[in-house]
């Protein structure tokens, strides 16, 4: 049985013999590399990972809105890092399609949406938006490391990391590389149906396995209110109790439920902030409440760390 790629036994256990990954696991994190990353990221106050396990539940949408929401406070510097190498959605959602990354003496410059909101994604490195990035794990890991090591983020209050679906290379790597600094926690996104929750439970177990604190779960596409008759329908019925039941069973916090609003998809397609375009939508209210809870979690976390120090 694999001892787990993050465990102390990684690459060294009897079960590791013959595993194609053995060399990499046994090598462990390079101390020089870890030091380099620590230096680069030392001016980052809070880091939040947005995960799911399931695809298409709204991770990127949520990451983009979290970034916009936090950056509404002009005194805060926000950074949004998109490590979905195969399907980078952030450039389009932030209205930055076609932008390129510039190099300076101090490294790669993030692409700025606002003065206080910088973005980095593999999307900015492609010559055409339809270019497929068909890379195996090790090459993806290499780029993620570069994003962390070579991007000149500067002083950042919040670093938000948007991830692809799954529990694989990208997720292991980001947790490993960011262990050089610290991660406040993960926000896990789901939709109400069991087919999603099934994958999300795995993601929760992944977080526990790699000792990544879970800030809480967001349930997207939670009901649809018809704009004409105002009746609510469950487009993705919570046949097994939805995120609420899952959170109760697994003892994690439910940060909030966000209803389906067709405007959300439209704003994303057009690269605009849904929060700004539809301030009166019930979905906006839900998002804002969730964002506030995340902020409170981070502030409290920081306060506790300082107390310990």
């Amino acid at each position: 049985e694999c001892p787990g790629t993050g465990s102390a036994q990684a690459g060294r256990a009897a079960a590791c013999q013959g595993c194609p990954n053995q060399g990499m696991c046994a090598a462990g994190p390079d101390p020089a590399e870890a030091a380099e990353l620590r230096t680069r990221l030392r001016a980052v106050r809070h880091t939040v990972l947005v995960l799911s396990g399931k695809g298409g539940v709204g991770k990127s949408t949520f990451s983009a809105l979290l970034a916009h929401g936090l950056a509404a406070d002009e005194t805060k510097q926000v950074a949004l890092l998109d490590i979905d190498i195969c399907g980078p959605s952030i450039p389009k959602m932030m209205g930055l399609e076609g932008e390129q990354v510039h190099q300076s003496g101090s490294g790669w410059s993030p692409v700025y949406v606002e003065e206080n909101l910088g973005v980095m994604s593999v999307g900015f490195l492609l010559s055409s938006p339809d270019d497929a990035v068909i890379w195996r794990g090790p090459k993806k890991n290499g780029l993620i490391k570069q994003f962390l090591r070579d991007v000149d983020w500067g002083e950042v209050d919040y670093l938000i990391v948007d991830t692809p679906p799954g529990t694989s290379d990208e997720h292991l790597s980001i947790v490993q590389y960011l262990s050089a600094t610290h991660i406040d926690g993960a926000v896990i996104v789901t939709t109400p149906q069991e087919v999603s929750l099934q994958d999300v439970r795995k993601e929760i177990n992944f977080c526990r396995k790699v000792k990544l604190p879970i800030i809480g779960v967001v349930e997207n596409m939670s009901g649809f209110v018809c704009p004409k008759c105002k009746n609510e329908s469950q487009i993705f019925p919570p046949t097994t109790g939805g995120a609420e039941k899952m959170c109760k069973n697994l003892n994690v916090s439910l940060l909030g439920k966000v209803p389906l609003d067709p405007q959300i998809g439209k704003s994303c397609d057009r690269g605009q902030s849904f929060l700004a375009e539809a301030p009166e939508s019930p979905a906006t209210l839900s998002y804002r409440n969730i964002i506030q809870r995340i902020q409170e979690y981070c502030e409290q976390h920081h306060f506790q760390e300082e107390k310990i120090m």
């Binding site: 194609p20 399931k54 497929a132 929760i204």
Partner: protein, 160 residues
């Protein structure tokens, strides 16, 4: 001497792809299999989504286990007449909530096994359900299937 491989009796191999997650690949793969079976065809489904295997639950066999025979793994037979052959990593997990936290090389090794070591028997259609993306699983699956006649790929999307 021509060796009879496990895929020798499969007439058509079909990949269901997307790139984007959550658009309905697994749903379509399942419905396609059921429809083809209903039309009298012999069908198999290979679920190579190692991190998020959805097919077992969709066919109500999430609690099944797989067995080995001389030619490899015996697929789980599902559907009303137990006539659809299914292989998924979902069947190899000790607990359904266990996360498969593997890097590429280990995923590639299992996919190769899934493609060559499952005793499919004679099938008209083998439908291969894939995870989102264009990475290890996709590269390995296409590479492992190269010696065989791939019918083609069905791509699934949503409007946005």
């Amino acid at each position: 001497l021509a060796e009879r491989t496990n895929l020798a009796g499969v007439r058509h191999i079909l990949l269901v792809l997307s790139g984007k997650g959550g658009v309905g690949k697994s749903t379509i793969s399942t419905e396609l299999a059921l429809a083809l079976q209903n039309a009298g065809k012999r069908v198999g489904i290979l679920d190579v989504d190692l991190c998020g295997p959805s097919i077992p639950r969709m066919l109500r066999v999430q609690d099944s286990a797989v067995h080995q025979c001389d030619s490899g793994w015996v697929p789980v037979f599902v559907g009303q007449d137990k006539a659809i052959a299914l292989m998924s990593i979902g069947f190899l997990l000790e607990r359904p909530d266990d996360a498969v936290v593997w890097r590429g090389p280990k995923k590639n090794a299992l996919i190769k096994q899934f493609v060559t070591d499952v005793a499919w028997g004679d099938l008209d259609f083998l439908i291969v359900d894939t995870p989102p993306g264009t990475s290890d699983e996709h590269i390995s699956t296409v590479e492992a299937l190269r010696p065989y006649q791939l019918l083609g790929a069905v791509l699934v999307t949503t409007p946005q």
